[in-house]
C-alpha cells in the first residue's frame, strides 16, 4: 500500500474538519435560485406533447386547434424542426471493437415513436397553464405497432423496436480476464443465480427544467444538469451554433442522482425554438414527466455463476448481463453495464473473471446512469452469489469473504481484467464493522426470537467501487472508447484584497463542493474557507470541465483545485521570498502567513502578497503580475473506495413486511476532507438502496404503459422508512492523487442492496427461503414464503437460479401483477380528504 501522506491534513487545519456547509444558509432559507425561479422579460412557456403509445407510426399531427388559441405562439413537430438540426441526440460511448446498432434519436419524434412519453410536438405560448391546455388540443393520430417490454422476450426478436435495424440486440461486449472455463473446471462447487435488477428512477427533489434565451447571436441556456460543459458541446453539434456562442448556466440544482447526467431533447428543442421565435422560453418538468421521460436506471437480467474449491477458494466468476436499453441510446446508455464489469470480481482475488453484456432495445424509456450506474448491479451480483456460495459450501459467509479478499499487502493490485485497484484494506473495514455490531449477540437473540415467531436477519456487503472517473487514456477514444477526456479543471483567482474565487469544472447538485473545495484551497493559500468562494456550473465563467458524476468531483476536480492552489502558493512564496530577500524554498505557510522558516515574525499574509502581485512594483524579474492559476488534472488511475456494511431487518412473516431496524456502515474513501459531508453522502446512498431493495420500482405493463407515474405508485421511501444510520470510516489513502481521496457519493447506493436483501434471506432461511429478487415488497415476500412452505423444506441452495419458482425470480419488466386498468385511482396519493 502506498504511504502517500495527505499534505492537506497537516497544513493549516481546515481539511479534515466537519465544517458546516457554506451553501446551506441560502438553501434552507429559500434564497437559492433554481431554473424555475428564472424570469426573463418576454419569456414564453413550453409544454411537450408526448406519445400515449409505446410503439406506433405517426399518421398525422394536427396542431391547428392549438395554434388557433390566442395564447399560443408556436407549435413545432419533429418535421418542423428538421431543418434546424444538424445531428440527432448524442451517444458518447460505443463498445470498442464491436458493432453497435444505434437508431436515429431526434429531439422530437419523426415518423414513429418507441416509448410512452416520447416527444411528438412542443407547444409554446404565453403562460405555463395555457400551454398545457393547448397541448391537449394537439390531435395526434398514431397507428399502434406491437410492443415488447420484457427484455428476454425482446431478445427473441419476434417484435422489433426498430424495424430499420431489424433486431433488438444493439450490441454484445465482453470483458474477460483469465480463463473462466478453466476456472470452472477447477471448481468443486458451482452456484448460479438469475438476478433481476429492476428498473428505478433517479427522482431528485427538483425535476429538470430549462430556460433558453437567444439574443444578439448568442444562446444562454439555464438548465438543471450535472454536466453544463458537455451539454454545450453536444448542443453545438446538434444545432450548429458555435460553442463560443452558447453559454450554459446551472443555477442551484436540486439533486441529480444521474438523471441529470444527460443531454435531453428539451434542451435542444428550446434552444432552437428560442432562436426561431426570438423570445426566451421556459420548460419545467412535472413529476409525472420525470417518471416518464427522465432516463431510468438498472433494468438488467443477470445470470451469474461462481465456482470455488471445497475450501472456499473462488476459482471463477462469470456473469451474463442482459441490459434493457429502452427504446434509444442516450448519452451513456450502453456504457452502464460495462462500468459494472470493471468491479465484477468485487474485492476478491478471483483469477478468472468474465462479463458478457448484451444490450437490448425494448419499448420503454432509455436506461442510463442512475445512483451508482452499473456498479450497484455488479455489487449486488457478486455479494449475493458469494452468500449463496457460502451456504452451498457450509461456510460462514464472512469467513468465505475473508478467505478471498485481495490482501492488503497486494496493493496496488492488478486484477485479471487488467486494471489496477489502487489501495485497499478489506479486512480492516470488515473488522471495524464487526467491532460495531456484536454479531454473536445478534445470533443468539435471533435464535431466541425465532422461537417466539419473530424473524430477524442480518446481511452483509463488502464492496469495492470504481470511482474518480476517469483517466482519459484508459477510457477515452483509444481506450475504452468514450468520446471525450475525463480530466477536471480549476482556476484559483486571488483577489487584490486577499480573498479568493475558485472556478471548477465540476458541477455540484447537492454534494457540498462549495464547502469541501474551499477547505482544500484555503489550507493551501493560507486563508479561511469563508474567504474562498467556489463558482461552478457556468460555461461563461471558468474553464471547460466535465461535471459531477461517478464519485469524481473530489478525486478529480478537488485534486485539480488543490493543484491550482499549490501553483498560487508557489507564486506567493516566490513573491514573499523576493520581498523579504529569502530563498523561495525557505518560505513556509503557517498560521495564515507565508513566512521565513525559523523567523516566524518575518512573513506576509495572502492579502499582502496579493497587493504586491496586483500593484507590481517589486516582483521578481520576469514574473507576470496578478495572482491566479489554472490547472487541468487528468488522473493516472481510477480510485477504488471500499467498505463493509451490515443491515439488520425484522420481517413480519404473516404479512411479508420488512423493516430495516438497524444499518451499520464502515466506508473507506481515503482521508476525509469533511467527515460530516461524508456521512451525509453515505446516508443518502443507503437510503436510496433501501428504496431500491424494498420500495421503488418503475413498472411498465405489457402494453408499455407506465404504471408508476407519480410518487403514489412509485414508492420512494420517506424518513419514516429509513432507520438511523451508524457510520464509521477507515482511511486508506489512494496513491492515485496527492489528496489520497477516493470519492464517496455513490458508496451507499453501490454497497447496500445485497446487505438488505441478504438480511431478509437470513431472516427467512428457516422458512425455506434462500434467494429473493428485489424489490422486496410485502406481497413478494409473503408469496415467496407461501411457495417455500408449499414445496416443503426449502433446498439450501439451488444449483440453477432459473429453476426457482416464477415469483421468486420474476421482477418488473414483465409487467404489473394485475391487468392494466385495475389499479386503483390516482387518488391514493399519500393524502386524504
Amino acid at each position: 500500500m502506498s504511504t502517500v501522506e495527505s499534505e492537506a491534513t497537516t497544513q493549516n487545519g481546515h481539511v479534515g474538519r466537519s465544517l458546516r456547509r457554506k451553501e446551506d444558509p441560502r438553501l434552507i432559507t429559500g434564497q437559492g435560485i433554481y431554473v424555475d425561479d428564472i424570469q426573463l422579460p418576454g419569456m414564453l412557456h413550453a409544454a411537450i406533447v408526448r406519445s400515449p403509445e409505446a410503439h406506433a407510426t405517426i399518421t398525422s399531427i394536427d396542431v391547428s386547434a392549438a395554434l388557433a388559441r390566442d395564447d399560443v405562439r408556436a407549435v413545432m413537430t419533429g418535421e418542423d424542426l428538421a431543418e434546424d438540426l444538424e445531428a440527432p441526440l448524442a451517444m458518447l460511448w460505443a463498445p470498442p471493437g464491436t458493432e453497435i446498432k444505434a437508431p436515429e434519436h431526434w429531439p422530437i419524434a419523426r415518423g414513429k415513436v418507441g416509448y410512452v412519453g416520447q416527444a411528438l410536438a412542443i407547444v409554446i405560448g404565453d403562460d405555463r397553464y395555457g400551454v398545457v391546455d393547448a397541448a391537449e388540443e394537439v390531435i395526434v393520430e398514431l397507428e399502434p405497432l406491437p410492443v415488447v417490454v420484457d427484455v428476454e422476450k425482446a431478445l427473441e426478436d419476434e417484435i422489433v423496436v426498430h424495424e430499420e435495424i431489424g433486431t433488438n440486440k444493439a450490441f454484445e461486449w465482453s470483458l474477460p480476464g483469465g480463463d473462466v472455463d478453466a476456472g470452472f473446471e477447477e471448481a468443486d462447487v458451482v452456484v448460479e443465480r438469475r438476478i433481476v435488477n429492476h428498473r428505478i428512477s433517479g427522482s431528485p427533489i427538483e425535476p429538470r427544467g430549462t430556460v433558453a434565451d437567444y439574443r444578439a447571436g448568442e444562446l444562454t441556456l439555464w438548465t438543471s444538469t450535472q454536466i453544463p460543459h458537455i451539454v454545450r458541446l453536444v448542443l453545438s453539434m446538434q444545432t450548429g451554433m458555435p460553442e463560443d456562442k452558447i453559454r450554459i448556466v446551472t443555477p442551484e440544482v436540486g439533486g441529480g442522482f444521474g438523471a441529470k447526467l444527460q443531454q435531453y431533447h428539451e434542451e435542444t428543442t428550446l434552444a432552437v425554438c428560442a432562436k426561431k421565435l426570438g423570445r426566451p422560453i421556459k420548460w419545467v418538468e412535472t413529476r409525472s414527466e420525470h417518471m416518464t421521460t427522465s432516463h431510468h436506471g438498472r433494468d438488467q437480467v443477470d445470470y451469474v455463476k461462481i465456482g470455488a474449491k471445497r475450501d472456499g477458494t473462488i476459482t471463477a466468476i462469470h456473469s451474463k448481463i442482459i441490459q434493457d436499453l429502452g427504446a434509444y441510446h442516450m448519452l451513456l446508455t450502453p456504457l452502464i453495464p460495462a462500468l459494472g464489469s470493471f468491479v465484477m470480481s468485487g474485492c476478491y482475488k478471483i483469477p478468472n473473471v468474465r462479463t458478457d453484456i448484451v444490450g437490448v432495445f425494448t419499448n420503454k424509456m432509455s436506461t442510463d446512469a442512475i445512483r451508482g450506474a452499473g456498479r450497484p448491479e455488479a455489487t449486488h451480483m457478486i455479494e449475493t452469489i458469494v452468500d449463496a456460495l457460502a451456504v452451498e459450501l457450509g461456510m460462514d459467509p464472512l469467513e468465505l469473504r475473508r478467505k478471498n479478499f485481495i490482501p492488503k499487502e497486494d496493493f496496488p493490485a492488478e486484477i485479471p481484467i487488467g486494471i489496477v485497484y489502487d489501495s485497499g484494506d478489506y479486512e480492516g473495514s470488515l473488522d471495524k464493522l464487526l467491532g460495531m455490531i456484536d454479531l454473536d449477540g445478534f445470533r443468539s437473540e435471533q435464535a431466541e426470537l425465532r422461537e417466539r415467531g419473530i424473524y430477524r436477519g442480518v446481511g452483509f456487503s463488502t464492496y469495492v467501487e470504481i470511482c474518480g472517473l476517469a483517466p482519459s487514456r484508459a477510457v477515452g477514444p483509444s481506450g475504452l472508447g468514450i468520446q471525450g477526456g475525463f480530466w477536471e479543471s480549476a482556476i484559483v483567482r486571488v483577489h487584490p484584497s486577499g480573498s479568493a474565487t475558485v472556478y471548477t469544472g465540476a458541477s455540484p447538485h447537492g454534494q457540498g463542493h462549495e464547502t469541501g473545495f474551499a477547505q482544500i484551497v484555503a489550507d493551501r493559500i493560507g486563508i479561511d474557507p469563508q474567504q474562498v468562494d467556489i463558482v461552478h456550473g457556468d460555461t461563461g465563467a471558468g474553464p471547460m470541465g466535465m461535471g459531477t458524476y461517478g464519485s469524481r468531483s473530489l478525486a478529480v476536480g478537488g485534486v485539480s483545485a488543490a493543484q491550482a492552489a499549490e501553483k498560487v502558493a508557489d507564486k506567493a512564496r516566490r513573491i514573499v521570498a523576493h520581498q523579504l530577500e529569502a530563498a523561495p524554498e525557505d518560505i513556509e505557510l503557517a498560521e495564515g502567513s507565508f513566512r521565513v522558516k525559523g523567523s516566524p515574525d518575518q512573513g506576509m499574509t495572502l492579502a499582502e502578497v496579493a497587493g504586491a502581485a496586483y500593484v507590481p512594483e517589486n516582483l521578481p524579474d520576469g514574473m507576470e503580475p496578478g495572482l491566479e492559476e489554472t490547472n487541468f488534472y487528468d488522473p493516472e488511475n481510477f480510485v477504488w473506495p471500499f467498505g463493509a456494511h451490515a443491515c439488520f431487518v425484522e420481517v413480519d412473516v404473516e404479512t411479508g413486511k420488512v423493516q430495516v431496524y438497524r444499518y451499520v456502515a464502515v466506508d473507506d474513501c481515503g482521508p476525509a476532507i469533511n467527515p460530516m459531508m461524508i456521512e451525509g453522502q453515505v446516508h443518502g446512498g443507503i437510503a436510496h438502496s433501501i428504496g431500491q431493495a424494498l420500495y421503488e420500482q418503475v413498472v411498465y405493463d405489457d402494453d408499455g404503459q407506465l404504471a408508476t407515474g407519480n410518487f403514489v405508485t412509485y414508492a420512494l421511501p420517506t424518513a419514516n422508512e429509513i432507520p438511523e444510520f451508524e457510520t464509521d470510516r477507515t482511511e486508506t489513502p489512494s496513491p492515485t492523487n496527492e489528496l489520497g481521496v477516493k470519492g464517496v457519493g455513490e458508496a451507499g447506493t453501490i454497497a447496500a442492496t445485497p446487505a438488505i436483501v441478504g438480511a431478509v434471506v437470513d431472516a427467512l432461511r428457516p422458512l425455506g427461503i434462500d434467494f429473493l429478487n428485489m424489490p422486496l415488497t410485502p406481497m413478494r415476500v409473503w408469496q415467496s414464503i407461501q411457495e417455500a412452505q408449499e414445496r416443503g423444506e426449502g433446498p439450501r441452495a439451488t444449483e440453477q437460479g432459473r429453476d426457482l419458482p416464477a415469483e421468486a425470480r420474476d421482477s418488473a419488466g414483465s409487467g404489473p401483477t394485475i391487468p392494466p386498468g385495475q389499479e386503483p385511482g390516482p387518488a391514493h396519493g399519500g393524502g386524504a380528504a
Binding site: 413486511k657 401483477t817 391514493h828
Partner: protein
C-alpha cells in the same frame, strides 16, 4: 400544479354553498381540505369548472358531546380528531392518516364525501354506526353511514347537498383496535381492519369489524362478527373467526397487492385488531 382552468369562490354561508351547487350542477365541486380533490385536479383526472370553498362557513368545525353522541363538524380536520382521545377508535385511525401536513388540512367530511375505499375513516365510522347530516335546497336529512358510500368515489349525496355533521355514538365500554397495512407510513391503506368489542360477564356482547379497501366501499366483516357475538373472546376463538374476514369482499387488486393477498391481509389484520380490542395483546 397545472390543473385545467377552473373558477374558485369561497362562500360565507351554507345557503350560499347550496345555491352554488344547485345552480352549477355537476361541474361544481365543494372544496374542503382539498387533499383528495386537488391531487386529482393536478393530474387532470378531475376538472371541475368551479370550486366552492366552504372553509369560511360557520358551524362546520369542531367536536361537541351531546348525551351519548359526539357531533363532529364536517370541516373538522383529522388532526383535531387525532388529538381528541375521547373519540376512541376514530381518534386512533385519524392519527394514521398520511402525514401531519395532510392531517392538518384534510377533513372528516371531505373523507366521507370523497368516498375513497382506501380512506381510513369511512370503515371506522361504519363500524361505529355513525350517521351523517346533509343539507340541500329542500332542507336537512340524516343518512346512516352504511348508506352513504355506494361505489368507488360515489355516494348517495345529491349534487346539491352539503355534508355538515357526523354523529358518532360514544360507544362507552367498547374496546377498540385499528390495524392499517401499507408500504410506507404515509400511504393509503392497502387494507385496514378496525374492531370494536364490548364484553360483559366474560362474553362478547357486541362486536363490529370494519374493513377498508376490501371493495369499492367500506365493509363490515359480518361473518366474523356473527362468529364472535356471545362467545368468550380468547385468542383461538378470535383467530378462528378472523379466518372469515374476507368473506363477501371484493378487493380491488393493484400493483402491490393481488385480491388474494389482500384477502389474506384482511384475515391477519382483523385478528390483530380484534385481539387489541379484546385486550389480548401482550
Amino acid at each position: 400544479m397545472i390543473p385545467a382552468p377552473f373558477e374558485y369562490v369561497a362562500v360565507d354561508s351554507l345557503d350560499e354553498a347550496i345555491r352554488e351547487l344547485s345552480e352549477g350542477g355537476e361541474d361544481v365541486k365543494l372544496l374542503a381540505g382539498g387533499h383528495s380533490l386537488v391531487p386529482l385536479m393536478k393530474e387532470r383526472l378531475a376538472a371541475p369548472a368551479r370550486l366552492v370553498d366552504i372553509r369560511r362557513v360557520p358551524g362546520l368545525h369542531g367536536i361537541e358531546r351531546e348525551n351519548g353522541t359526539f357531533r363532529i363538524g364536517a370541516m373538522t380536520p383529522h388532526r383535531k380528531l387525532e388529538f381528541s382521545p375521547e373519540l376512541g377508535l376514530v381518534s386512533e385511525a385519524a392519527g394514521t392518516i398520511a402525514d401531519p401536513q395532510v392531517r392538518h388540512r384534510g377533513t372528516i367530511g371531505g373523507s366521507i364525501a370523497h368516498a375513497d375505499p382506501a380512506s381510513d375513516l369511512p370503515a371506522v365510522l361504519l363500524a361505529a354506526e355513525a350517521t351523517i347530516t346533509v343539507q340541500g335546497p329542500g332542507g336537512q336529512r340524516e343518512i346512516a353511514i352504511a348508506d352513504v358510500a355506494v361505489d368507488y368515489l360515489e355516494t348517495s349525496l345529491a349534487d346539491d347537498e352539503v355534508l355538515t355533521e357526523i354523529r358518532l355514538p360514544a360507544l362507552e365500554g367498547y374496546g377498540f383496535g385499528y390495524e392499517k397495512f401499507n408500504r410506507r407510513a404515509e400511504d393509503w391503506a392497502m387494507v385496514a381492519a378496525c374492531a370494536l368489542v364490548k364484553v360483559s360477564d366474560g362474553t362478547c356482547e357486541d362486536v363490529r369489524v370494519g374493513l377498508t379497501h376490501m371493495a369499492g366501499v367500506p365493509l363490515r366483516a359480518s361473518a366474523v362478527e356473527g362468529a364472535l357475538r356471545g362467545q368468550t373472546l380468547d385468542r383461538e376463538t378470535i383467530a378462528a373467526a378472523a379466518e372469515q374476514a374476507a368473506e363477501g369482499t371484493d378487493p380491488p387488486g393493484d400493483l402491490n397487492a393481488t385480491p388474494e393477498y389482500k384477502s389474506h391481509l384482511a384475515r391477519v389484520l382483523t385478528r390483530r385488531a380484534l385481539e387489541t380490542a379484546a385486550g389480548l395483546t401482550t
